[in-house]
C-alpha cells in the first residue's frame, strides 16, 4: 500500500514537473487517511472579512451536504469529518490555513474559497502536498492544475450563448464594466472575441477597484455612450452599489439592460429585487430553476439556515461538489482513499446536481448546463433560456492552440 502510494507520488511528481510545477518537494508520507472510520475533509471558506458576505453561504452549503451525507450513513460506512477553518478573506491566511488542513489534519480533500486570489494562494501548498482542492466558483479559466477540481463555470460556459442572445435582442454595442482584477478582464477578453465575430462593438471598457461604491462618474459615462447592453462583471458590494445607483438614476432595463456574469440571488437580495428587475444574468444555476433535485436542495437549505436565505450558483456548486467527492470515494477501497485516487476516480463521474446531471471532465473542470435568467422584483430569476445540452468546459477557449487536458496544459 505504501509502495503503491509512493509510485503514485512519483508519477504525479513527474506529471507536475512536466506541467512546469516545482514537483521536487513532494515527500513520501505515510498516508493515514481514513483512519478510524472517518474521512477527514477540509472546509476553507472565509467566515470573517469582506469576502465572508459570499463565502459564508458557500460554507453553509458545503456543510449542509456533509451533514446530509453523514445522516444517510456516510460514504461506504465511513463518516465525513469536516475540519473547519476561517481564512478571514486574506490570501496569506488562506495559505496558512490550508497548510493546517492538509498537513496537520491530514485531510484527503479541501473544499474552499471564492476569489481567484485565494485559490492561487492555496495552490502552491496543494500542489506540493499533492492534495485535492475543490473550488466551487466560476472563474476566468486559463488554469489547468491537476490538484484542483473546478466546479464553477469558465468563460465559454457562461458567454457562448449569452452574448449572441444579447446581441440579437438588444443590439451589438456593449459597455463593459467590471472590477479591476483578472476575472473581469478575462471575461471581457472573451466577450470582445465573441462580439468581434458578431460584428459588434465595444462602447467603452472600464474597471473600478474592488469594493468601489461610488458610480456617479461611471453612470455619467454610460449615459453619454448610450450602449445597447451594459455588460457587467462587477462583484459583491460594487455590483450592489452600481445597480442601486443605476436604478436611482432612472435607467430602463428594457432599453439598456445590465447583463451580468457575476450577479446571483445573493447580490440581488442585497440590492433589492426592485433595483434588479428586468436585468439579466448568465449562470448554470438559478434558485428558481425547476427540478426535483433543486427542490430538495432549496428546501433543505432554507430549513437548515432560515427561510430568508437564498441559494445561488456558487453555493449550488459548493453543495454538489461534496456529492461528487462522495461518488468518487465510494468507488475506492478503504485503504485506497487518498487525494490522487479520489481525483482519478472522479473523472468522468456523472452526478445529479440541482442544475441537472453534471459530469467531471478529464481536465477536472465540470460540464454544466448554462442558463439565462431575467431578474424579477421578488428577487428571483425567471429562466428564459436553458441550454439543451451540457456544455463542456474549455478553460483556454480564448487561446488558440492551448487546451487543458488530462495531461495538464497542452500547447501547440
Amino acid at each position: 500500500m505504501k509502495r503503491r502510494n509512493f509510485l503514485k507520488g512519483v508519477a504525479a511528481a513527474g506529471a507536475a514537473g512536466a506541467a512546469g510545477f516545482p514537483g521536487i518537494w513532494i515527500k513520501g508520507e505515510g498516508m493515514a487517511h481514513a483512519a478510524n472510520g472517518e474521512i477527514p475533509v477540509g472546509v476553507l471558506f472565509s467566515l470573517t472579512g469582506p469576502v465572508a458576505v459570499v463565502e459564508s453561504t458557500l460554507h453553509d452549503a458545503c456543510m449542509l451536504a456533509i451533514e446530509e451525507i453523514n445522516a444517510n450513513g456516510g460514504v461506504n460506512g465511513m463518516k465525513l469529518r469536516p475540519y473547519v477553518e476561517d481564512p478571514a478573506s486574506d490570501p496569506a491566511t488562506f495559505a496558512d490555513r490550508v497548510r493546517r488542513l492538509v498537513i496537520r489534519d491530514k485531510c484527503v480533500s479541501v473544499f474552499g474559497s471564492y476569489t481567484s486570489a485565494s485559490r492561487q494562494a492555496v495552490l502552491p501548498v496543494v500542489e506540493q502536498r499533492n492534495n485535492l482542492y475543490w473550488y466551487p466558483t466560476l472563474y476566468e479559466g486559463r488554469e489547468c492544475s491537476r490538484n484542483v477540481m473546478y466546479g464553477g463555470a469558465v468563460p465559454n460556459q457562461q458567454q457562448q450563448e449569452f452574448v449572441p442572445w444579447l446581441a440579437e435582442k438588444f443590439g451589438k454595442r456593449f459597455y463593459l464594466i467590471g472590477n479591476n482584477y483578472v476575472y473581469p478582464r478575462e471575461e471581457n477578453n472573451v466577450c470582445k472575441i465573441l462580439l468581434d465575430r458578431l460584428g459588434g462593438e465595444v462602447a467603452n471598457e472600464e474597471y473600478v477597484p474592488l469594493g468601489h461604491s461610488d458610480f456617479g462618474s461611471a453612470i455619467n459615462r454610460i449615459r453619454r455612450e448610450e450602449p445597447d447592453v451594459i455588460f457587467c462583471t462587477l462583484v459583491g458590494d460594487s455590483d450592489v452599489a452600481f445597480q442601486r445607483q443605476l436604478h436611482a438614476a432612472g435607467f430602463d432595463p428594457g432599453e439598456m439592460p445590465v447583463a451580468s456574469l457575476t450577479r446571483s440571488e445573493i447580490e440581488v437580495k442585497a440590492m433589492g429585487g426592485e433595483a434588479a428587475a428586468g436585468n439579466f444574468s448568465s449562470a448554470p444555476y438559478f434558485m428558481a430553476h425547476q427540478s426535483a433535485a433543486n427542490e430538495r436542495f432549496v428546501e433543505a437549505y432554507l430549513k437548515r439556515y432560515g427561510s430568508d436565505q437564498v441559494t445561488h450558483f456558487v453555493s449550488e456548486a459548493a453543495y454538489f461538489q461534496v456529492y461528487q467527492f462522495k461518488a468518487a470515494v465510494e468507488q475506492l477501497a478503504r485503504s485506497d482513499i487518498d487525494p490522487i485516487s479520489i481525483r482519478d476516480a472522479a473523472v468522468g463521474l456523472r452526478t445529479t446536481a440541482p442544475q441537472g446531471e453534471i459530469e467531471i471532465d478529464p481536465n477536472l473542470h465540470t460540464h454544466l448546463w448554462p442558463k439565462i435568467g431575467q431578474w424579477q422584483s421578488d428577487g428571483q430569476a425567471r429562466v428564459l433560456v436553458e441550454s439543451d445540452k451540457r456544455v463542456a468546459p474549455e478553460p483556454y477557449w480564448a487561446y488558440d492552440g492551448q487546451s487543458c487536458t488530462a495531461e495538464g496544459l497542452v500547447k501547440g
Binding site: G216, A248, A249
Partner: protein
C-alpha cells in the same frame, strides 16, 4: 457642457457623503484628539440600525433617523465611558484601542445579524431624477446634499450658539482652567463623543440606499474620512466641509479625466502635498494647544 455639470454634481454628491461621515470624526478628533478608527463601525451600526428598524419594525428610513442617532450615540457613550476616557493622555494608543473596538463591533454584528449583505429600501418619494437640460440629478443625491449641509449648520449652531458648545470650546482650549471654572469636562467629552458617534450613525443610515449593508462596510470609509478631517484642519467644521467639497470634486474631475483608480491615486497625492505644506489644514485652528 452637460458632461461638466454632470460630473460637478457627481462630485458634490460624493462630497456630501464624505461630509456626513467625516463630520462626526472631525468633532471627536478636534475636541479630544482621539483618533477613532472605530468610526467606520459606527457608520456600519447606523446602517444596520436602519435595516433593523425597517425590516422588523416597519419604520421607514426618515422616521427611523432619530432612533438611529440615539442608538449609535448611546453606544458611543458607552465606549467613551468604558474605554476611551482612560486614554486621553496617550492619544496614539487610541488608534490601537479603537481598532480593537472596530474588530469587536464588526464581529458582533456578523454574529447577530449574519455575514450576508442587507438591503434597506429608499423612501419612495425620492425615486427618480431631476433633469435640467442634459444634466441628470438623482433626487436622493440631491436630498443627501441638502441634508448634509443641514447637519453641518446644526452642528455649527450647537458648537457656537449653545451653552454646551461654549463649554466644549473652553475645554478644547484649556481643560484644566475650564475645570477651575466648574465645567465638568468629563461630561463634556462624553457627550461630544456620543454626538460624533450619533452623526456617524445617521451617515450610515443615509448611505444605505446607495450601497450595500455589510459588517465590513465602514472600513473603506474611515480612511477617506480621516484624510478629509486632516486636510480640513483640526477642529474646524468649515474646514471639514471645504475639504469634503474639494476631495469630492477632485475625485470626480480626476476620475473623469483618467479613470477611477488613477483618479483616486491623484487625489491621494494631492492630499499628501496639502498636508505637507499646510499641516494645520485649510482652515487653521489658531488655538495654542
Amino acid at each position: 457642457m452637460d458632461v461638466f455639470f454632470n460630473q460637478a454634481f457627481t462630485g458634490l454628491s460624493t462630497a456630501s457623503i464624505l461630509l456626513l461621515v467625516a463630520l462626526g470624526l472631525a468633532i471627536i478628533y478636534g475636541a479630544m484628539g482621539v483618533i477613532n478608527l472605530a468610526h467606520g463601525e459606527f457608520v456600519m451600526l447606523g446602517a444596520y440600525a436602519a435595516w433593523f428598524l425597517q425590516s422588523f419594525l416597519g419604520i421607514g428610513l426618515f422616521l427611523g433617523l432619530p432612533l438611529v442617532f440615539v442608538f449609535v450615540a448611546l453606544l458611543g457613550l458607552a465606549i467613551e465611558r468604558g474605554l476611551v476616557r482612560w486614554l486621553y493622555h496617550r492619544p496614539l494608543d487610541t488608534i490601537l484601542a479603537t481598532w480593537g473596538v472596530g474588530i469587536v463591533l464588526q464581529q458582533l454584528v456578523r454574529m447577530i445579524a449574519g455575514p450576508d449583505s442587507r438591503y434597506v429600501e429608499r423612501p419612495a418619494m425620492l425615486d427618480g431624477n431631476l433633469r435640467i437640460a442634459d444634466v441628470y440629478m438623482s433626487n436622493y443625491r440631491i436630498f443627501l446634499l441638502f441634508f448634509s449641509v443641514a447637519v453641518l449648520v446644526a452642528t455649527w449652531y450647537l458648537m457656537t450658539r449653545t451653552e454646551f458648545g461654549t463649554k466644549l470650546r473652553a475645554v478644547i482650549q484649556n481643560r484644566e482652567i475650564s475645570e477651575c471654572y466648574g465645567i465638568r469636562t468629563e461630561r463634556v467629552y462624553a457627550l461630544t463623543f456620543a454626538y460624533g458617534a450619533g452623526l456617524a450613525g445617521i451617515a450610515g443610515a443615509l448611505i444605505t440606499p446607495l450601497a450595500s449593508v455589510t459588517p465590513g462596510m465602514g472600513t473603506n470609509l474611515v480612511v477617506d474620512a480621516f484624510l478629509v478631517v486632516i486636510v480640513g484642519g483640526v477642529g474646524s467644521l468649515l474646514g471639514t466641509a471645504a475639504a469634503s467639497g474639494l476631495v469630492g470634486e477632485a475625485t470626480a474631475l480626476f476620475s473623469f479625466l483618467l479613470n477611477d483608480t488613477i483618479g483616486r491615486v491623484a487625489v491621494l497625492m494631492a492630499i499628501i502635498v496639502l498636508i505637507r505644506f499646510w499641516p494645520q489644514g485649510l482652515f487653521a485652528d489658531r488655538i495654542r494647544r
